[in-house]
């Protein structure tokens, strides 16, 4: 029997390029990828949305016609023998491939039959799968009634009814809660360890890279790195620090650090600013702080993301630092042309009154309680986060906050208006950026801006001034005539934010604003949001994303419609501190909260 190293690899790509044509235009999805994934290991395909991850997975599964290059699965040419290749592959598409009106058992039976799993041994295999996924108690539940995390596990079980040699998982962890995410990784590790399965897993979460044996880094269709995550992260070893300054707000500090020469990356991480320096760059308090503010600088171990950002920064030209125009003082209050009267409730209350106030907010759909007595208050200029998995009740809360859905019960005030009575008045003070690109794809950038300016009834000359501001501030000037649909994701997001800010709202609602965008665009986006908050805009953000939670001043953790905990990121993390985990992450904190919440029910 030949040694494993002599066998053909689990997946081999050689000069693979792929382009999609629509309406006569061609968009490259993959550009000359040459890479391999080893047997008996997890290979991560990592990159932001639009990097080409799904295209790569589908090509490997033979679901797209290969036009140039060569793909082999276990030495089998996929283009020439797709059926042979497929018979050795297990593939889970992004939406898990489940029949929602079939039960857990019926889904498993279906896949067992179409995969011709021999009857002998079927029972043992089923038992093993059900044990592994924890689905045994839910056998007769309809798949559509499962939580996101359980659907994901059932999807995985369905691809595993016949033991594949190569398992392809396309973004299996998107939108599921961190407990399920961790459990999925445990299953994957178990499969690799006990069955010597090769797993190829795509994700846009950079923190998952650290769990892979090796990673393929995709950016805009190109392979920008193929390495093992530890040595990739080690490229920036000694260059990562936690910086904090007594008496300086974390957002001001971050803004200052981000502009300091020699600093590659500065992001807010709870109470600290995480800084990555240029190679050879030593971080000295004196250099960073000419005003001699006392800085505390603590070296921290490098993360995968630090290295990825450093790599992307070195390959792309420096972008103009955003947020300056906002920070310069074009704050909503100081802009005299605004002219909207203050709502009666807030006049004279000296800004102590919360701008967003929810008390025992409840929303029922029939017998289902989507939001269950949720209470929180957001002060002016604060960034407040609603953190939760898909289905936790974030979107429903959000719709009520925007006045799009009436609450079933409870009190809700936004900008001083009771949303039950004056939803329309409140909406004029709200800027809203939806998760999906919700602008007019067929219109150009300028046409979208004009449309939103007129939809908010801005009058000339103010209207022209706002459009000019948007083009300038968001660097959209060179793209003013580009059709919005064809903008890169990062630019779409900028345009969406520009449109949401057209009428200088005092409250900004962001729904999963940076889910799936690349880390550079995410940083740029948050620098803008920070600048807005500094200028007094109140920001409410929903996210299932631990990293976005770190940017918040305070946040409420939601699960199954209830607030599990609320507070600033540091105090939430502090609750999860244990002897063996002195430095818990936001994810650890979230998992600890979910587990604490489910314990009484399980008992």
């Amino acid at each position: 029997m030949p040694a494993e190293s002599e066998l053909p690899p689990a997946l081999r790509l050689e000069g693979v390029s792929h382009a999609f044509t629509s309406r006569g235009r061609t968009a490259a999805a993959l550009d000359g990828i040459t890479a391999r994934a080893e047997r008996g290991a997890v290979t991560g395909v990592i990159g932001p949305d639009g990097a080409g991850k799904t295209t790569l997975m589908r090509l490997a599964a033979g679901l797209l016609q290969l036009r140039s290059g060569r793909i082999e699965v276990l030495g089998i040419d996929v283009a020439r023998n797709p059926d042979d290749a497929r018979s050795r592959i297990g593939y889970m598409p992004q939406r898990f491939g489940l029949y929602e009106d079939l039960t857990v058992r019926e889904n498993l039976d279906l896949y067992a039959k179409v995969q011709n799993v021999p009857r002998a041994g079927r029972e043992a295999r089923d038992g093993e799968l059900l044990h592994m996924t924890g689905l045994a108690p839910f056998l007769s539940r309809l798949a559509g009634r499962l939580s996101g995390g359980m659907k994901q596990k059932l999807g995985l079980a369905c691809t595993l009814v016949r033991v594949p040699e190569v398992l392809l998982l396309d973004e299996p962890t998107v939108g599921v809660d961190p407990v399920s995410r961790r459990e999925l990784w445990e299953i994957v590790d178990h499969l690799v360890r006990t069955e010597r399965m090769a797993v190829v897993l795509s994700t846009s979460y950079l923190d998952e890279a650290e769990r892979c044996r090796s990673v393929l880094l995709l950016h805009e269709g190109r392979l920008v790195g193929a390495t093992d995550p530890a040595s990739f992260a080690a490229q920036v070893s000694g260059r990562s620090f936690h910086v904090s300054a007594a008496g300086t707000g974390k957002r001001q500090l971050q803004e200052r650090l981000a502009r300091t020469p020699g600093v590659v990356d500065a992001t807010i991480q709870g109470a600290f600013v995480r800084v990555v320096t240029e190679s050879g760059g030593q971080l000295s308090a004196a250099e960073l702080s000419p005003q001699a503010t006392p800085l505390t600088i603590v070296p921290v171990p490098p993360r995968f993301e630090d290295s990825f950002v450093a790599l992307l920064k070195s390959s792309s030209p420096a972008t103009a630092s955003p947020g300056q125009a906002i920070a310069r003082g074009e704050t909503p209050e100081e802009n005299g042309s605004r002219g909207t009267p203050s709502p009666p409730e807030t006049t004279g209350s000296a800004g102590n009154e919360p701008v967003i106030f929810a008390d025992r907010l409840t929303r029922r759909f029939g017998s289902f309680i989507a939001v269950d007595a949720v209470s929180f208050a957001v002060r002016r200029g604060e960034i407040f986060g609603l953190l939760g998995a898909n289905g936790a009740g974030k979107s429903t809360t959000f719709r009520m906050l925007c006045g799009l859905l009436p609450p079933s019960d409870g009190t809700l005030r936004v900008a001083g208006y009771d949303l039950r009575r004056a939803a329309a008045s409140a909406r004029g003070r709200i800027g809203y950026m939806a998760q999906k690109f919700s602008l007019y794809g067929d219109l150009s950038v300028l046409e979208n801006l004009r449309f939103f300016a007129s939809a908010y009834r801005l009058l000339e000359p103010h209207r022209g001034a706002r459009i000019a501001w948007a083009l300038e501030e968001f660097g959209l000037g060179p793209h003013a005539d580009a059709v919005s649909r064809e903008l890169p994701l990062g630019f779409k997001q900028r345009l969406a934010l520009a449109c949401a800010l057209m009428h200088e709202p005092e409250i900004l609602f962001l729904d999963e604003p940076t889910s799936g965008v690349d880390p550079l665009a995410r940083r740029e986006f948050w620098r803008r949001i920070n600048a807005l908050a500094e200028s007094g805009v109140t920001v409410l953000v929903t996210t299932h994303f631990m990293e976005e939670a770190e940017y918040c001043d305070r946040l409420a953790v939601l699960a199954q419609g209830k607030v599990l905990a609320a507070g600033d990121p540091e105090s939430l993390k502090a609750r999860a501190r244990t002897a063996e985990r002195p430095q818990p992450t936001m994810e650890d904190a979230f998992i600890a909260l979910l587990e604490a919440a489910s314990r009484p029910r399980a008992a």
Binding site: L63, P93, L98, Y99, D109
Partner: protein, 373 residues
Amino acid sequence: MREPIERLEGLLRKEALQIIRDPSALAIAFLLPAMLLVIFGYGVTLDPHRVPLAVVVEQPDAVAQSFVAQLGGTPYFTPVHFNTIQAADRAFDAREVSGIVWLRANFTRQLASEGAAPIGVIVNGVDANTARLIQGYLQQVWATWLAARSRERGLPQGLPVAVEPRVRFNSAVSSRDYLVPGLIAIVMTLTGALLTALVIAREWERGTLEALMVTRATIREILLAKLLPYFVLGMGGMVATLVLAVTLFGVPFRGSLLVLTGASALFLLAALGMGLLISSVARNQFVAGQIAIIVTFLPAFILSGFVFDIGSMPWAIRLLTHIVAARYFVAILQSLFLAGDVWSVILPNALALGIMALVFLGAARLGARKRLD
């Protein structure tokens, strides 16, 4: 051989469970055709029924009264009396009446002297179809009245050649009797295409087809697992519409059930095949539904000969009607319902249906790939 059967069985079982749990397929198979049949069956009729007709009698004498009584005695017209032609005109312009029958002052005198027809008939040519109908039925009433009058008075009939119409196959000349069988074909075209097109589009939408494609199930098995259950459902829908036609609309059925079943099966295969073909282009239910209506329902409605006579179409369009499956089924159904097993009609049309079923199913099979692009 055991393995493919096992896979097919798994897929069929899944499809059956889905049909039971999600009533939308049942609604398409039974509710939709029944509703359409009832709506169109009552709405589409080519017989005048109680059409309001202005009657102007300038000199009301016994003869004129007898004709007006004849007019009112038919189920076709409801006479509305006016004293002057001007008043009748106004009502006509206001669309209160659909036509005017005008008996001038010299009506009785002229009738006596020349023995024929001095009545004025005014119909609205804008609605040409109704106008022609009113005209035709008025003439019939007139001829009947003249004949009766001649007989009464022992005179030879006014016309040198007496035309005695004898209508075969639909002796009551009820348009419903020949429209309803045609309607069944139209309604089942839409139902058949929607059944397969929508359920496959649903699998595209939910991402389940993508997962199935990377299993051992072959594309033929996946298609077959769609075709078989929806063939059964479609036949059920067919039975429902046929029963409705006979019971609710009282359409006579003169052919044999065996021939009907065979022809229905062939036709349904063609319709389901069209649906499969649509699903290879349309990947969401909305688009699939739109395409199904445009490429199956509309051509079937206009080009099947169910209401618009194919023989009077220009040759280019007449040529086009040959690719409309409903055309052949309409011919078979009309023959089975109104005449019986007329083999000279049934055989060529059944052959055409068989060819169409083969073509559509074959194209669907060739067009389907285990790929997403």
